[in-house]
């Protein structure tokens, strides 16, 4: 992957206020793939009785990770925007643990990028959530 594309993708997520608010960290980036980690934070708890984080925060992590994978695709000339995103919540994320999302842009046409992703907490095995999404492919201005 070219240094330019890596820098673009890194810039894409690292200057985003919501990404900073959730303290997300870009762990890995490659051609059409990205890994992003989101630490546990009491502010994003969705179930006060168990301390499990809210699905909405997982959605934001997935959307960010899938979008980054699209930008990191070698055939994508520019930026991207989400067309649709579906998240399946397989199980509750363990309270106190970070969630790490991995996304892969597995097909790209002139106008649409197809992406799938998974999110794991610090336990191995069954993911916390899976995602499938479609994203726009912007033509270079």
């Amino acid at each position: 992957m070219s240094a330019d594309k890596i820098k673009n993708a890194r810039d894409f997520i690292e200057c985003v206020p919501q990404v900073l608010a959730l303290k997300m960290e870009l762990v890995e980036i490659a051609d059409g793939a990205a890994v992003i980690r989101m630490p546990y934070d009491p502010q994003i708890v969705g179930d006060p009785e168990t301390g499990v984080i809210h699905g909405g925060a997982v959605s934001t992590l997935m959307d960010t990770c899938c979008g980054t994978a699209v930008i990191a695709h070698p055939d994508n000339p520019g930026g991207t925007a989400t067309i649709s995103l579906r998240i399946d919540y397989l199980r509750a994320a363990a309270p106190g643990q970070a969630v790490t999302a991995r996304a892969e842009c597995y097909h790209l046409t002139r106008s649409v990028a197809f992406v799938r992703g998974t999110a794991h907490d610090e336990e191995t095995g069954c993911p916390v959530a899976t995602a499938t999404g479609t994203f726009t492919v912007e033509t270079k201005a």
């Binding site: 206020p17 608010a21 699905g55």
Partner: protein, 169 residues
């Protein structure tokens, strides 16, 4: 036999608002996004108060798609939970004391959530409404939409399935 005299309006309002506050106010993530709920009778409208930290694309600028999805999910969960709670609030099965003690049913759990992005979210407040299509004993189907200045021009729509909390018999 004459019908029971309706309760004074203030009493009814106070009980309903206390229930809504107890339901949404206890979730940290709802406070993190600063989402409030407007209530007219039993109908709720979610209000996402704009803040710089909600931005996902600083160049446009636009709301983060994840925030829009989360806003729709929060509105769906609270609307669904509220629709189940409503009867208990109305009949008085759930009293003001219960609410203050935090004895509310558990929140529904999201099974899956699908969001369509229709327009980019502008850096300003957004509104959302959810409609419970079916609410069964175990599962529920909900659809929701979010808009900003113009209700006829939604920024996103969602549909989702939830698992309902077990109710004590």
């Amino acid at each position: 036999m004459s019908r029971a005299r309706p309760e004074p309006m203030q009493v009814v309002k106070q009980r309903r608002d206390a229930a809504l506050l107890a339901l949404a106010g206890r979730v940290p993530y709802i406070r993190f996004l600063d989402i409030g709920f407007d209530r007219r009778g039993d109908e709720l409208t979610g209000v996402l108060h704009f803040d710089e930290k909600l931005i996902g694309n600083p160049h446009l600028p636009a709301l983060h798609g994840g925030v829009t999805a989360a806003f729709l999910e929060v509105t769906s969960i609270i609307t669904l939970s509220w629709s189940v709670l409503w009867e208990d609030v109305e009949t008085g099965a759930l009293t003001q004391d219960d609410l203050e003690a935090g004895s509310l049913p558990r929140l529904p759990k999201t099974i899956d959530f699908t969001v369509d992005y229709l327009r980019s979210g502008l850096p300003r407040d957004a509104y959302a409404r959810a409609h419970v299509t079916r609410s069964g004993r175990r599962y529920a189907s909900v659809r929701a939409e979010a808009w900003q200045d113009n209700h006829a021009r939604p920024i996103a729509q969602a549909h989702a399935h939830f698992m309902m909390p077990r109710r004590e018999v």
